[in-house]
Amino acid sequence: MLARGWSWRHGGRRAQAVAGLDLEVEPGERVLLLGPSGSGKSTLLAGLVGVLPEGDAEDGESAGELLVGGAPAGARRGRAGLVLQDPESQVVLARVGDDVAFGPENLEVPREEIWPRVRAALDAVGLDVPLDHPTAALSGGQKQRLALAGVLAMRPGLVLLDEPTANLDPAGVVEVRDAVVRALDATGATLVVVEHRVAVWADVVDRVVVLGRPGDEGGDGAAVVADGPPEQVLAAHGDDLAARGVWVPPRFRTRPLVPAWRAPTPGEDLLAARELACARPGGPVAVRSADLVLPAASCTALTGANGAGKTTLALTLAGLLEPVGGAVVATGALADGLGPSPWRWRSRDLLRRVGTVFQDPEHQLVAATVEDELSHGPRLLGRPEEEVRRRTAELLERLRLTALARAHPFTLSGGEKRRLSVATALATGPRAVVLDEPTFGQDALTWAELVELLRELVDGGAALLAVTHDADLVEALGARTHHLEPPDPAVPLAPRGDPPPPRGLARWRGRR
């Protein structure tokens, strides 16, 4: 691929997403593309695969040249294949074989040639399932490998990956990375991968290219800030990259991401699970018998493989799902005058007691501006207007969101949304906070900010429960880990610790 003075401006934006990019990648090269958010990495990939809108100036404008294999990018579909971040939105069809065949079909590959290609592509990514296996039954890592197979079946000379492992657990990350390497070895295709987590790809690629933000410091306006073998680029720019949010391995940077911290001594127990069994409404039992305690001023990490029921357990502890066996017990210090069972509390009573941060921030955003989002909880609790305003301003400042106070929450970037969703849970000052994968897909800067925020909470006496795969987070918070095994049907379900109030005849009998 070759970019010569290539620029792109999205329709409706004033600033250019990519400005004057000069970059040449030789056939067979494996390139890791780094850069701060807003440096146009994803735009470049979209341009290479030929899915940027063309024609109207309203849709966007390009300048310069962008060539793939000597021809303008996108002139021939299928020369470059793209795998995106979200596993869910890349599955096209219901059966594995059909999904892989989708690309070749669009390229008008003759039928008798399609199926051998499908099998070869599935082999290359190591996805060993029958062709009629339902795609809905695949794990996140498998779905990403399926997407990769779908791309390989088109026999592209250039494979483009846009943060393909950001939404996966550590096992899934390795699984996808290895599949990529195996596929490249088999096909000799060129690779360009965009990823924050350098450590995952550093050993696999032979070149690292760092893009700058158009109009950023550097002055000369060069789109490429650094370019060279991984060791060399990381050694020369480690600290600089880390400061821009890139996950640089520790040996290439001189400063730690977060300062050292001493976890306080845990206080009294606030929330506990006793032989707790939980399930989504109408779903199978995800956790059969869990026992754990959340003391004040401490953090507990909930770990375990996909499908072990971590999220279900966390949401049940947070009082959002009804236990199906055993009990969630809130001690007097947390319940503050209410019964011991958070599930029975009113939604409004939860605000002051248990805060929840969902895996996808968009799920829990309910207001039209960032400011309202933060004042929503305190207002519902009827706090004095003056106090609400002061607290909101404080949180905005603390999270560097003041400039965005009037923006619609859905328009924020991924990192901003994450900070906001954590802040909404903290605004009402709950004593227990449950977080589901709070650091998933975040860059190093947002990660460090989250750690600082959560440390403050623990110092302030809160009991934290974090569902996480992030070993760095566990270490940074000095968290105790509770490992969850997938449900074992042999484990009997305990009776409900807080049986539902008897109704009708049963109640009448009970009275007698």
Binding site: A46, V51, R77, G81, L84, D86, E88, S89, Q90, V92, L93, A94, G97, D98, A101, F102, G103, P104, E105, N106, E108, V109, P110, R111, E112, I114, W115, R119, P130, L131, D132, A136, A147, G150, V151, M154, R280, P281, L320, L321, R346, S347, R348, L350, V354, T356, F358, D360, E362, H363, Q364, L365, V366, H376, G377, L381, F410, T424, A425, T428
Partner: protein, 296 residues
């Protein structure tokens, strides 16, 4: 039956045939059925979805032409005999059919009370009367809802959406961009159900979960719908991008099909059986003298 299905599917699933058309044999792996549990392979589930669609249409049209007890009753009796061909366990099938069963009763009751009166008055309260005529009409309507609804739902369950899309695009030559776009979109609907539930949990966490007044409740639900729409739209856009990146939707471009949508004698059989059900029901009603056209 099931052994045949297993080996049939194997053509695409395992044994590398190299060339060849594994398509016809992939049928019977219904995705909808897959959600419902195991679908046994039967001549019906292996038929081309276009045939089942046409068959269902024939029965529906024949029964909607007339309102009488005999035609609907005969059709219903025949349909019940054919139900095992759907390939679902009785319990699963019952759950799928429940909406039809539930809907049929009120439809008949309403007709009984407010339908055109004739004959002896059996029950009366002001303008609401139940007469011999309206009672007959009510029963006929109930039977009709069942006789049209049961095969409708049953044929839908036996139909794999992917195979239907193949049929629509390859056989009926509907524009493949629409057909495949719709098919891919259909898959997102299932995801939205899970999203909706999570949104509801998140609203409880944000203090909006208490039953307030109707006004407050409406506002919370409206916000939740809006959030779902935004999330759905984003997801759809990402899916569209992923499909485009795989060469889909180039204006004017052609397309090959990995699975051939083939028509076999079995498909003619499905249409013939459905036509026979419709014909027998109509003929019996005509002979019995109860056939009463709705139009004219």
């Amino acid at each position: 039956m099931s052994a045949g299905a297993a080996s049939g599917r194997g053509t695409t699933g395992g044994a590398p045939t190299g060339a060849g058309t594994p398509s016809a044999s992939t049928r019977g792996t219904s995705t909808l059925g897959g959600l419902a549990g195991d679908v046994r392979s039967t001549p019906l589930t292996r038929a081309n979805p276009l045939a089942t669609l046409l068959g269902g249409l024939v029965i529906a049209v024949a029964l909607l032409l007339t309102v009488d007890v005999v035609s609907a009753g005969v059709a219903l009796a025949l349909e019940l005999c054919l139900l095992p061909l759907v390939g679902l366990a009785p319990r699963t099938l019952l759950v799928r059919l429940l909406p039809v069963l539930v809907a049929s009763v009120p439809a008949g009751l309403v007709t009984t009370v407010i339908g055109r009166d004739s004959g002896e008055v059996l029950l009366g309260a002001g303008p609401l009367t139940v007469t011999e005529g309206s009672l007959g009409l009510g029963v006929a309507i109930t039977l009709r809802v069942l006789a049209v609804g049961i095969p409708g739902v049953a044929l839908l369950v036996a139909t794999d959406p992917t195979d239907l899309a193949d049929g629509l695009a390859q056989r009926l030559h509907l524009p493949h961009r629409f057909v495949l776009g719709g098919l891919a979109g259909l898959r997102l609907v299932g995801l939205l159900v899970a999203e909706w539930r999570t949104l509801a949990l998140a609203r409880r966490a944000r203090g909006l979960g208490d039953a307030g007044g109707p006004l407050a409740g409406t506002r919370v639900v409206a916000g939740q719908v809006l959030a779902l729409l935004v999330i759905a739209l984003r997801r759809a856009m990402r899916l569209a991008l992923a499909m485009e990146a795989r060469g889909f939707g180039v204006p004017g471009a052609g397309r090959t099909w990995a699975r051939a949508s083939t028509l076999a004698p079995r498909d003619a059989g499905v249409v013939a059986v459905c036509t026979a059900v419709a014909g027998l029901a109509t003929a019996t009603a005509v002979v019995a003298g109860t056939w009463a056209p709705v139009l004219g």
